[in-house]
């Protein structure tokens, strides 16, 4: 039985919001998965808080609508608890790059087998227009009316430095490509990071800029760290440069969940172990 993939929840994203494209892409991937005979019961979506996170209400799959910045540790716990689950994290740029940056870095460092999709609109939408860690220098937001006095961080470069094994950048107006990137991220055994450029229709409508600057990377992603570095630095989320879309880097290595998996033991055996331990303390 195929399930209805969209819930009855009323959609409250602004018209033209980039989130629609990400939701549509995920929905298509979920349908494909069902068509391939794989169950959707094993898929879990974890979101943070922000406009992006409403996707947890809209997609009719298992979901954990977490706290601002705190989707990734929840996803890590879920994957460790049941490695058979496919765990997808939808997070925002304020969410994952500000409030929860520590969790993002550690998830990459650990190589936990989850897929993190950053809905990167480079502005806080839900709190009505403040700068985020990827807003350009001088961005005039409601908390920085005279313009920000700090440079953005480059999440692609950061993820390279943190040990992520799958690093990609997508764009919501290149949906076929985005679908391919997310599919590859989910298929990647290990931590997968996809920074998705999306416009915020209300507070950062950068469509024209992105459309004129993006280009697609040729291959499926280099396994060469040294060649990935300059590629990651080509656009620093601030200066005027070409914006590469595609996979910057892939490397498969043992995952945290594989290394951490316990060998479960029965209740009686546990009782015996407790007795033995208490006896040894006599």
């Amino acid at each position: 039985m195929t399930r209805t993939l969209i819930t009855g929840a009323q959609n409250t994203w602004c018209p033209g919001c980039g989130n629609f494209a990400i939701q549509h892409t995920l929905k298509n991937l979920l349908s494909d998965r069902e068509r391939e005979g794989k169950s959707l019961d094993d898929v879990v979506l974890v979101s943070g808080i922000g406009c992006h996170a409403k996707i947890a209400d809209y997609l009719n799959i298992n979901s954990f609508y977490s706290l601002h910045g705190r989707a990734i540790p929840v996803a890590t716990g879920i994957k460790l608890a049941n490695p058979a689950l496919t765990v997808i994290c939808c997070v925002g740029d304020g969410d994952a790059y500000a409030e929860g940056l520590d969790h993002l870095i550690f998830a990459a460092k650990r190589n936990i087998d989850i897929t993190v999709i950053v809905h990167n609109n480079r502005v806080y939408g839900l709190t009505t227009g403040q700068y985020t860690p990827t807003s350009p220098m001088g961005f005039k937001g409601r908390s920085t009316p005279a313009g920000t006095a700090e440079y953005p961080l480059n999440p692609v470069e950061l993820m390279l430095a943190s040990g992520a094994g799958f690093i990609a950048r997508g764009y919501t107006r290149k949906m076929e490509m985005l679908k391919g990137l997310i599919r590859a991220g989910i298929a990647h055994k290990g931590f997968a990071f996809i920074d998705v450029l999306q416009i915020c229709a209300s507070f950062f409508p950068a469509t024209d800029y992105y459309d004129s600057h993006v280009y697609e990377l040729p291959s499926t992603g280099s396994e060469d760290f040294d060649s990935a570095c300059p590629l990651a630095r080509e656009w620093d989320y601030n200066s005027d440069a070409r914006i590469a879309l595609g996979t910057f880097f892939t490397r498969v290595s043992p995952t945290f969940d594989e290394r951490m998996i316990p060998v479960p033991i029965g209740k009686e055996e546990r009782e015996r172990a407790i007795r033995e331990l208490l006896d040894a303390r006599m």
């Binding site: 879990v44 609508y65 706290l67 890590t76 608890a81 969790h103 316990p262 546990r270 208490l278």
Partner: protein
């Protein structure tokens, strides 16, 4: 009644804790019940460490001011603890480092004769102690063989050399009782969680809770559990909630400062109705405070932590036996009532070593959590009479399991509608009543001391031991709630029958339990408080109770 106290002191890094554990085992094998208090500053090397091992013919959980034996590994030990000496106190010391100990042992030359490494020096002290305390060699031999993991023969040879130097001075009477298991409060908490079905323990190191992390990490294969030490306490609580959401029983451990970082996650557990056990082991606050010293100043914090209103359970065990039993109950009830459950401990309990009778470790039976039957379409927050909604976990066939930190409807989808908010808030509060009802099945208020005495002490947690001893000495009553939330007001009132004078005894500045009791109409007449990070001693408390006045 026979009793004995032994102090062992030296520099940090001298192995005082493990030497103390050996002395504790010697007394254990003479049939005494044990309490070991370990005192150390927050540093790795240098500084003064000491342990006091107290053996009693009945259950014990506290120290007295005076000691019968001193094992001095350095001169400082002799000087620092002078106020603890009595006329008959025997000092066994390392003669190479201590000038004026009465029973000096030439540790260096013994080690040289036996070609033993410096690390075995403490075995010489223990051997010498055993002899002056009149402990038979066969007991020393048996205890060493059971509790020294390697090179036991060489350790025994070193101990025997020192043993043979002396004659018995103050023989400790051997009793007929069999030895029990010696475990720390932290280990007892870990074992209780395991018995409660723990699958995952998540913790960031913080004294005095770290012992649980170390113990469970070391034993994880033995118990088939996952132990994770994440990047910070925020990740700790969120990861634990992830484990539970996916159907695994999780617990976290921390102290006050770490718990500060978890309050947002705690509130999420309340809103999303995700069971989790939180071990909060208190130390002296505020802020970094005295990291390695005790306190009971986080009750009101734990009671109120987290934004919004949601049910929670708080248990405060008084010793290792209760820690084991109530950690299991906390795990069961967290799941049965789908709410966070706290184990509120402190340094005295966590890092103290107690006698625990394995025979009393029995299975606590009871209903398991409410699970989805798979027959009706799944709604995580289905509104029921008890407020409890059946649980299902991702992977279950055709169940879409949606949990949510926002106000949500029965399906778990965000809802800001006033009527739904009203209903769902009431649903969560119904679980308070369910929890109160479930608690009726447990003996949550312990009454000890003299049952009909008209003066009673009101206390909680690790001051159990000292309150019970002081009360026995003075002929008064002790009333001690083990469960602090939901507050067992009826049971306390029942225990208070005939009490005319109620004295709060707490290791904090503001008498936090007394304040909680007062909110429920229970008035304390006096408050005996200590807040220097050191636990009350028996003499200490007896003096202050007399000062406060007995009816």
């Amino acid at each position: 009644m026979n009793e004995v106290s032994v102090l062992i002191g030296g520099k940090a890094g001298d192995g005082i804790n493990s030497a103390g554990a050996m002395v504790a085992q010697l007394l254990n094998h003479l049939g005494y019940r044990i309490y070991l208090y370990f005192d150390y500053p927050s540093l790795i090397r240098g500084g003064h460490n000491f342990a006091i091992i107290r053996g009693l013919e009945r259950d014990v959980g506290t120290c007295r001011n005076h000691v019968d034996f001193v094992l001095a590994l350095n001169e400082e030990t002799i000087e620092r603890h002078k106020e603890k000496y009595m006329q008959k106190t025997v000092i066994i010391s390392n003669r190479d480092l201590v000038k004026n100990g009465s029973y000096g042992i030439p540790v260096k030359s013994i080690l040289a004769e036996e070609k033993a490494p410096a690390i075995m020096g403490n075995s010489a002290l223990i051997g010498g102690f055993a002899r002056v305390a009149g402990i038979e060699w066969v007991v020393v031999d048996a205890v060493f063989r059971r509790h020294i993991p390697k090179d036991v023969d060489l350790n025994l040879a070193v101990a025997k050399k020192a043993f043979d130097l002396f004659d018995p001075v103050h023989p400790i009477k051997k009793t007929e009782t069999l030895p029990l298991s010696l475990v720390s409060g932290n280990e007892a908490i870990g074992l209780g969680l395991i018995r409660g079905g723990l699958n995952a323990y998540v913790s960031y190191p913080m004294t005095p809770s770290s012992g649980i992390l170390h113990f469970l990490a070391e034993q994880k294969e033995r118990f088939g559990i996952t132990v994770v030490h994440p990047e910070n306490e925020i990740a700790v609580i969120l990861m634990a909630l992830g484990f539970t959401y996916a159907g695994k029983k999780s617990a976290i451990g921390t102290s006050g400062g770490g718990f500060c970082l978890m309050t947002e996650g705690l509130s999420l557990a309340g809103m999303a109705e995700i069971p989790v056990v939180l071990v909060v082991s208190q130390r002296t606050g505020p802020s970094t405070g005295l990291p390695t010293y005790t306190g009971q100043s986080d009750l009101q914090f734990v009671l109120h932590a987290g934004q919004g209103e949601f049910p929670r359970m708080i248990v405060a065990p008084g010793d290792a036996q209760e820690a084991l039993c109530w950690s299991e109950i906390a795990m069961n009830l967290a799941w049965n009532c789908q709410c966070p459950a706290f184990i509120l401990a402190d340094k005295t309990l966590s890092e103290g070593t107690y006698s625990l009778d394995p025979v009393t470790v029995r299975n606590i039976s009871g209903a398991g959590p409410l699970l989805w039957d798979g027959k009706t379409p799944y709604r995580r927050y289905e509104n029921t009479a008890s407020g409890l909604s059946p649980m299902a976990f991702p992977g279950a066939k055709d169940a879409v399991v949606k949990v949510n930190s926002y106000m949500h409807d029965e399906a778990g989808i965000t809802a800001e509608d006033a009527e739904i908010s009203n209903q769902m808030t009431k649903k969560r509060l119904k679980k308070w009543e369910t929890l109160i009802e479930v608690m009726q099945g447990y003996n949550v208020v312990i009454q000890s001391g003299i049952p009909d005495a008209s003066t009673a002490l009101l206390c909680w947690g690790s001051v159990k031991g000292v309150c019970e001893e002081a009360a026995a000495e003075l002929g008064i009553r002790v009333i001690r709630p083990i469960v602090l939330a939901p507050f067992p007001v009826e049971q306390i009132k029942k225990a208070l029958m005939g009490v005319k004078r109620l004295i709060a005894v707490e290791e904090n500045l503001t008498a936090q339990l007394a304040a909680l009791a007062e909110r429920h109409g229970i008035i304390t007449h006096e408050k005996i408080l200590r807040y220097d990070g050191r636990p009350f001693t028996v003499e200490d408390l007896v003096f202050r109770i007399k000062e406060a006045g007995i009816e």
